[in-house]
């Protein structure tokens, strides 16, 4: 068992997820299943193969430093749950 209750609780906390007992049990099992499957990869010989940072054969995709119009403020704030003085209102942080 690679994932125990403590790990699930910690990851849930970092992800701001409130899990109940049943969910914690479920995730312990599911995450361990996923990791066991991933373990299969370890049997592959990767000696001499450079680590891969990106799956596509792309590099140096860049844009020129030229200003483009931003989005209208009204649209930007359209999905804000709580708009106050042109800003996104968010609940108490700490």
């Amino acid at each position: 068992m690679m994932i125990d209750r403590a790990v699930v609780e910690k990851v849930a906390q970092l992800s701001r997820l409130a899990l109940d007992e049943k969910e914690i049990e479920l995730y312990i099992k599911q995450l361990n299943d996923i990791l066991s499957t991933m373990e299969i990869l370890k049997s592959i010989d990767t000696e001499g193969i450079a680590p891969l940072a990106h799956v596509l054969p792309l590099k140096n995709v860049m844009r020129a430093d030229e200003v483009q119009p931003s989005m209208a403020k009204k649209e930007i704030l359209a999905n804000a749950p709580d708009e106050i003085e042109g800003m996104f209102g968010v609940p108490k942080i700490v």
Partner: protein, 482 residues
């Protein structure tokens, strides 16, 4: 003398002076209405893709070269995951294990001794948005308001080795770092305006101990002065804890400028908690070696080289050379002045004296300066020619500083031209001697200070415009003949 050695490393964030944000075309202009420089990319809306601004890469490489780093041939972006409302995506695009530059250094001078401070790495990342807390402090606030104009502004983070041992070394390092960044023109690097931000990692250890003690990270330092004060406070705080047999807690502390203290903000999340992983939306960066070499060749003269040049070629004292080269503004003004004026030492004196004093007292920045080097050169030439006295030159300078007018114009307008004409001065002296018989008697009776009084009277009668050397000479001659 303390029993503990102070270990300090810095993390400096520098806002790059690009026109657009790091991954989208939104402007980086400062001071827009909240949320007007925002688009789906920098707001992190689903389905959007970031594209790297090539200027950001160029500036980061330039900074790496100027700070003596090795530029990575292969570099990539990573996601740094954490929840905070200034970050819309719940992750920041940063660089983790393959930063753009590593293994650099800055040479500083403290107490006349040179010291090399290592630079661990430089990486590129995006800035977060700005939060306004509704209430007096973050802990008592009822909620916060988010403005994302700053989200996505390009930053480089420059991480030093834990090589600094005192607040003085930190100050010297920061000043040199700021000067280099200004010289290469990749940022305004102004701490008060947030374009240069500094976090301090500080720990203590008993002298002779090999391992470092537990460190605290200090944030919210908004000026060079607050960096110095916070370091001194934090050293004393950790010393007290250790002396009482306690243990320093690894945590983030915030500096309170008014109270002059650091306060615990939160215990430091382990770096694992950020769960870094490669950013799948951005392909890796493979820099072209020839391009890097070109950038290296195009680097301007840097502060240390310029300082050496001022010492060897202009024969300035080391102190003067340090001050003149400490900021790009000062150095540029000096260079401009020297283009039109030969006397290096006098040029330096006027910049470090009159000019910088006025700039400090009126809180004027180099970019806001009205007086231009060419006009300042004219003023000094007038002074050298003897057309005006030193005292008048300072008056003229003050007016030039305030209005930007040319020296000759002010001298003419105000009729300030120095009188060196012997006949004219001679007439005034005769009048003064006739009107002050008592002082003349005093002088003849051996009271030498009467001479000073008489010189003063002549200067007064000529509104300070008489050439003091001529006045002294003529007065001496006349008195000796009486």
């Amino acid at each position: 003398m303390s029993d503990y050695e102070v270990i300090i490393g810095l993390e400096v964030h520098v806002e790059l002076k690009t026109a657009t944000k790091i991954f989208c075309g939104c402007t980086t202009a400062f001071g827009g209405e909240p949320n007007t420089h925002v688009c789906p990319v920098c707001l992190g809306l689903p389905g959007t893709l970031p594209i790297l601004n090539q200027k950001v890469l160029e500036y980061a490489v330039k900074a790496g070269l100027a700070l003596n780093c090795q530029i990575a041939e292969y570099s990539k972006f990573d996601r740094k995951n954490y929840f905070y409302p200034d970050l819309t995506k719940a992750y920041q695009i940063s660089q983790y294990d393959l930063p753009i530059a590593e293994h650099g250094y800055i040479d500083i001078i403290v107490g006349g001794k040179e010291k090399r401070i290592g630079i661990t790495r430089i990486h590129m990342e995006e800035d977060a948005g700005k939060l306004v807390h509704q209430g007096s402090t973050i802990t008592t606030a009822s909620g916060s308001l988010a403005d994302y104009n700053r989200a996505g502004i390009p930053l480089i983070e420059i991480v030093s080795e834990p090589d600094m041992r005192s607040a003085e070394e930190v100050k010297a390092y920061l000043e040199m770092l700021k000067a280099i960044i200004e010289y290469i023109g990749v940022s305004d690097a102004r701490m008060e305006q947030g374009s240069l931000r500094c976090d301090v990692n500080l720990s203590l250890r008993p002298f002779g101990q090999a391992v470092f003690g537990t460190r605290a990270e200090i944030k919210n330092l908004n000026s060079f002065r607050s960096v110095e004060r916070a370091i001194k406070y934090e050293i004393a705080r950790q010393e007290d804890i250790l002396n009482d047999g306690g243990q320093v807690v690894q945590e983030t502390r915030t500096w309170d400028e008014t109270k002059g203290q650091t306060f615990s903000l939160r215990s430091k999340e382990d770096s694992d908690d950020y769960r870094y992983f490669p950013e799948p939306d951005l392909p890796p960066i493979i820099v072209d070696k020839a391009w890097v070499e070109q950038l290296r060749q195009d680097l301007p003269e840097l502060p240390s080289a310029k300082k050496m040049r001022l010492i060897t070629e202009d024969h300035l004292p080391e102190y003067d050379a340090s001050i003149i080269t400490a900021s790009k503004g000062t150095a540029d003004f000096y260079d401009g002045l020297r283009k039109h004026y030969d006397d290096a030492k006098k040029a330096a004196n006027w910049i470090m004296g009159e000019l910088m004093a006025k700039m400090n007292s009126q809180n004027v920045d180099w970019s806001e300066l009205k007086i231009i080097p060419e006009n300042m050169a004219q003023l000094l030439s007038e002074l050298d020619k003897g057309a005006i006295s030193g005292k008048i030159a300072k008056e003229v300078f003050a007016e030039m500083f305030d209005t930007g007018k040319k020296a000759a114009e002010i001298i003419k307008e105000k009729g300030l031209v120095q009188i060196s004409d012997t006949n004219a001065i001679s007439t005034v002296i005769d009048d003064v001697l006739a009107n002050n018989p008592k002082s003349v008697e005093d002088f003849k009776g051996g009271k030498k200070q009467a001479m000073g009084f008489l010189v003063g009277q002549v200067m007064k009668a000529t509104k300070g415009q008489a050439n003091p050397a001529v006045v002294n000479q003529l007065l001496n001659e006349k008195l000796s003949m009486l």
